[in-house]
Amino acid sequence: MRVQHRMLAVAAALAVTVAACGNGEEVEEVEDVNGVEDTDAAPDEDAEERSLSVWIMQPGSDEVENIITDSVAAFEDEHAGVSVDLQFVPWDAAHDQFVTAIGGGQVPDVAEMGNTWTPEFAEMGGLAAIEGEIDGDYIDAIVDSGLVEGEAYGYPWYAGARAFIYRQDVFDDLGLEVPDTWEELLEVGEVIEAETDLDPINVAGNYVHMLAPMVWHAGGQLAVESDGQWTAAVDSPEGRAAFEMYAELFERGWSPQGAITWSSVDVREAFANEDAAMMIGGGWDLAAAIGNNPELEDKVATALLPAGPGGNQDAFAGGSHFVQFAESDEHELGREFIEFMLQDEQVSTFADAVGFLPGTVSGVEASSAAGDPLYDTFATQIIDHSASYPSTGAWGAIEGNQVFVNAIQQVMQGDLTVDEAVAQVDEQMNEAFGQ
């Protein structure tokens, strides 16, 4: 009945708008028809009533969603007359959504944004710079990833770094030690390959956050900045060493052929199905793997990433910023909202639930991960051994163009040599840097 009634209303309203296309008053009326049952959409007419539109990435589970909606409700309780219009943004469509909102001229006031995108949207003028000092307690790498020309655009919300996850039971059986270096990783892998049915460690063609940090491990940089101009640096002995190591792991036959198109999710799945003995992954990967296969809980352990020939063992510091948009009318209120969400209690509850770590050092130390031997590694990894990708607006385009993925996939397919691949990476990165 109700559906029918509403369909009629909509149909009638439609007839009106179609007939009088673009007539403002008619349009108002139409919105009223829809608004009748949307009681939670507070009207904006009253001067006391303010509304704040907030975009948060799709929570993916009830638990996480409830934590967010509870926080938002608590914020509304503290701020009389403020209603938060909360929208969850699907992961696959997030970048497109930001582009459309900015390009179409209707942006949210506050949004969660993946930290590799912040410089991209900041540089083109879409985001509002943070006024005043940004609290020193944040994890450096996450603050750095939101810097454009010395100005900070992103408040670190949560962060995560990948570490080394391995099967303790297999290592114990074979009397193996946790590998600290690439050589040891290869040696351990050989033993596992010889002694078990397991793949020692899977690589994936579509897993930038495993590949790119290996350039750091080898002692190199992805790109270097001088006078505000970035220059790609992967076509270097260090970059070649990283790509060679990655190719080596694949060419030893330790991953299925299909791994050329695998992503981190496939790597995790193989580990969860007990097909592989080691993996590079984040705390969220470990939690998801255990979720799929609870028996793993007693069999796995974690360690810091193996260091490369450069003695470096940094992981990519991934995570999310809170950002405000330049076109928003509610900068003050938006800032209050962000500060509310970044309180220790709010942020650590949320971070724990998603398997990430709070964006603050004190938050990490206070989080439940700190006491847990399995997850403590990820905290150490991000605080002491993490770095961010070049903080430039071009990085979004480099990521979107899949520069690293394309190059390594061609190496894995045998279509490019490592030398050609790193040259191609640099060429495409420099093109994005505007050289």
């Binding site: 149909a11 439609l14 139409v30 949307d38 993916g60 582009v99 999710v265």
Partner: protein, 283 residues
């Protein structure tokens, strides 16, 4: 003629066997992904992604359905039904009118109109997204069903016009001429004679328009920001989180998502297959 009868029987049997074999192959091809969707939604988590396929769960669980319903499935369903239903009714009506005009009247601009109407469909939808978003913002139609409805109409009507025009051309014009001679107006000839005869065509067209609106994701995501107004395809994204897809939940949601479309198909399908046309024509 006994000889002929003997010759025909094996041939008939062979034809019959071939018919059934083809039916089984086609049916299997059509149904396997749907079977996989439904059965996955009922599996315990550990049996969802396995190297050795699990064709039937060791233990059937409906927990995901409860979860999906609790997460607002029926709200999204209502939204989708309102949008897709309105689009179907209006789209088929508009397309039938236009299709008839282009099939029967001798308009000088006909061929250009036909091409022009179709030309709007020849762009990748993504490039139209931002300008269309701007149009919707200026019309104040963001966050409204109307915005989605008119958008879907403008994208499904062109092809629907073409489809229906084809069907109308297949209906002999003599029928209407006779009616006109009898004193019918053109419009009455259309509504009383041509449309009933084009029943299967209208049914096919209705399914086409309905599915377009039912499945659309990009505009629904971009034009609607309130969760309470989102449609099913957008809501389906709720099961993809930071750490990947919750396959079981996606499949449970998709199963519920598919059901109303199936019901609609069954309803329309009758019109497709009752052979009402041949019945009517034969009198």
């Amino acid at each position: 003629m006994p000889a002929r009868g003997l010759r025909r029987r094996p041939r008939q049997i062979a034809a019959s066997v071939a018919t059934y074999a083809a039916a089984v192959v086609v049916g299997a091809f059509a149904i396997v992904p749907l079977y996989w969707m439904v059965v996955t939604s009922l599996k315990p988590q550990a049996e969802v992604r396995t190297a050795e396929p699990v064709f039937w769960p060791s233990e059937v669980t409906f927990a995901r359905y409860a979860d999906v319903v609790e997460r607002g499935f029926f709200t999204y369903l209502t939204n989708s039904l309102i949008v897709a239903g309105t689009v179907t009714v209006l789209g088929v009506a508009f397309a039938a009118f236009a299709g008839y005009a282009l099939a029967r009247f001798d308009l000088s601009v006909k061929r250009y109109l036909l091409l022009l109407v179709l030309a709007t469909q020849m762009f990748p939808v993504v490039v139209l997204l931002i300008p269309l978003f701007t149009v919707m913002r200026n019309l104040g139609l963001l966050d409204s069903y109307i915005g989605l409805i008119v958008t879907y109409l403008s994208f499904s009507t062109p092809l629907a016009v073409w489809i229906l025009r084809g069907f109308f051309q297949g209906i002999p014009a003599e029928l209407e001429d006779a009616a006109l001679v009898d004193g019918c107006t053109r419009f009455m000839a259309l509504t009383r004679i041509v449309l009933p005869l084009a029943g299967p065509g209208l049914a096919a067209c209705a399914i086409f328009v309905f599915i377009g609106a039912w499945n659309e994701f990009l505009f629904a995501l971009t034009f609607i920001s309130q969760d309470s107004m989102r449609t099913l395809p957008v809501a389906l994204q709720a099961f993809t989180g930071r750490s990947g897809i919750d396959f079981g939940a996606v499949m449970a949601f998709s199963t519920l998502f598919t059901l109303p479309a199936v019901v609609f198909f069954l309803f329309v399908h009758k019109r497709l297959s009752t052979g009402m046309v041949s019945g009517a024509v034969k009198g």
